[in-house]
């Protein structure tokens, strides 16, 4: 698989993660407003999938990140490293929590995913608007360099933002008493 093919594939997966995040938020909100409605029924049905799905998303994001640095040989910039610091542990602790069915992991995982989301959103904005930080590139690996730019807006940090958002939304969809 070429780097271009992998980038299109990962971009589409990122959009899928974004759709999962949106669906999760909408379902949780509607179910909270109408506890006896159909949304609440569906939410109870899919709730057991939330942790495994969040783990799968964090794992795919981690593997995608490693693919870009170790196989495609893209040099990670400073902001890329901050997002890696947030995403890589999620792939481990969400996996363990999914096996143990331990939803209390939310208290530890959500702040990490939240920090990752903030950095990823800032980095996405920087890559979409490279002139906002400066009008020239330094000789090192600048954070404005777009290694990937699919569909006119999907960059690597945008993919990370979708992953963090999906993990956050899925973790938030669990009942507080679980």
């Amino acid at each position: 698989m070429s780097v271009e093919t992998a980038s299109v594939f990962l971009s589409l997966l990122a959009l899928l993660a974004l759709a999962i995040a949106a669906a999760s938020v909408v379902l949780t909100e509607v179910a909270a407003r109408r506890p006896d409605g159909a949304a609440a029924e569906v939410l109870v049905g899919v709730r057991p999938m939330a942790l495994p799905l969040a783990w799968a998303i964090a794992t795919v994001a981690t593997l995608g990140s490693l693919y870009y640095s170790e196989i495609a040989h893209f040099t990670p910039c400073k902001l890329c490293w901050y997002q890696r610091i947030a995403m890589y542990p999620l792939a481990v602790i969400l996996g363990l929590a999914a096996i143990r069915r331990d939803r209390s992991v939310r208290a530890y995982a959500m702040p990490v995913a939240g920090i990752g989301l903030v950095v990823a959103l800032y980095h996405s904005w920087l890559q979409a608007n490279p002139d906002s930080s400066s009008t020239f590139c330094t000789l090192e690996a600048p954070c404005t360099t777009r290694h990937v730019w699919e569909l006119g807006f999907v960059s690597i940090p945008f993919m990370a933002a979708c992953g963090f958002a999906a993990v956050l939304a899925l973790l938030a969809s669990g009942a507080p008493d679980e």
């Binding site: 992998a6 594939f9 997966l13 899928l16 899919v46 999938m49 009008t135 404005t144 290694h147």
Partner: protein, 272 residues
């Protein structure tokens, strides 16, 4: 320490029995109602992931053949990434960090470069008695990626600035950075400016003391540096640099942008 198995708590036994009764009441293993939802959602997600993979393979297979077309008018040819570069003369110092400070390279003799383009044809920069504007670009730099089409659109519409030789130096080429190789990028942009391929170590860039990308060096007909600029330039400032190379003024020039159509202390014809 005893090896006897720990007795199961009574409450756990009761829960287990209740669970078993519930399962028996639910009948054979086929999930129904609410229990079916994870299977449906999981199946849909797996199908969407598979579809995404198929789309990615299909789309990129089409792109590979579509990207080969070379825009008409381009002078960039060849597939080399790096070229041999010979430098004669003293290397220029790095530009000052403060953009308003006086650039120490202004007034110095520019080094003369002899190298080759992406096809291995000889390219010389300097030593020919022509006012010259040199543009250093890096294929991975988003500011260079914006500047090149901006300039090419100007050349296509109004032509190149008269009386000034334009030369590009492709430098800092790295296979692990995006938009590689540089020749393919410049061909794609229909770039009509003669281009020298720098060495892998950036010999040409080092000789001109570049501090960022894109980087512009204006040289007058005597081979003296009259101005250096780094960063994206609007067309008016680019033409202003060309004017300064043509006019050959060096007095009091700094690294900061000058008002369009002027040089320090010397009026020059306004840019287009």
């Amino acid at each position: 320490m005893s090896n006897r198995p720990r007795p199961t708590p009574r409450s756990a036994v009761a829960r287990s029995a209740a669970e078993q009764r519930r399962r028996q009441a639910a009948g054979p293993s086929a999930p129904t109602g609410r229990g079916r939802v994870p299977f449906v959602v999981g199946g849909v997600l797996a199908a969407v992931v598979l579809l995404a993979l198929l789309v990615a393979v299909r789309v990129t297979a089409t792109d590979t053949t579509a990207g080969q077309a070379r825009p008409s008018g381009t002078v960039v040819r060849g597939e080399h990434v790096y070229g041999d570069v010979r430098v004669s003369g003293q290397a220029l110092p790095a530009p000052p960090e403060d953009p308003t400070a006086v650039d120490p390279a202004v007034g110095q003799a520019a080094p003369v470069l002899t190298g080759e383009d992406f096809a291995g044809r000889e390219v010389r920069i300097g030593g020919d008695g022509q006012p010259t504007l040199v543009l250093f670009v890096a294929h991975w730099c988003p500011h260079c990626q914006k500047e090149v089409p901006l300039l090419q659109a100007e050349f296509d519409t109004h032509g190149k600035p008269p009386g000034v030789r334009l030369v590009t130096v492709s430098t800092s080429a790295t296979a692990d950075r995006p938009n590689f190789p540089p020749a393919a990028w410049l061909v794609r942009e229909g770039w009509t400016v003669e281009t020298l391929a720098d060495t892998q170590a950036g010999k040409a860039a080092n000789a001109f003391g570049i501090g960022g990308f894109p980087f512009f060096v204006a040289i007058d007909r005597s081979g003296t540096v009259v101005a250096r600029r780094s960063g994206e330039l609007p067309i008016s400032e680019f033409l202003g640099l060309a004017d300064r190379a043509r006019a050959g003024s060096t007095a009091g020039t700094t690294g900061s942008p000058s008002p369009p159509g002027t040089t320090a202390g010397t009026a020059v014809p306004p840019g287009r």
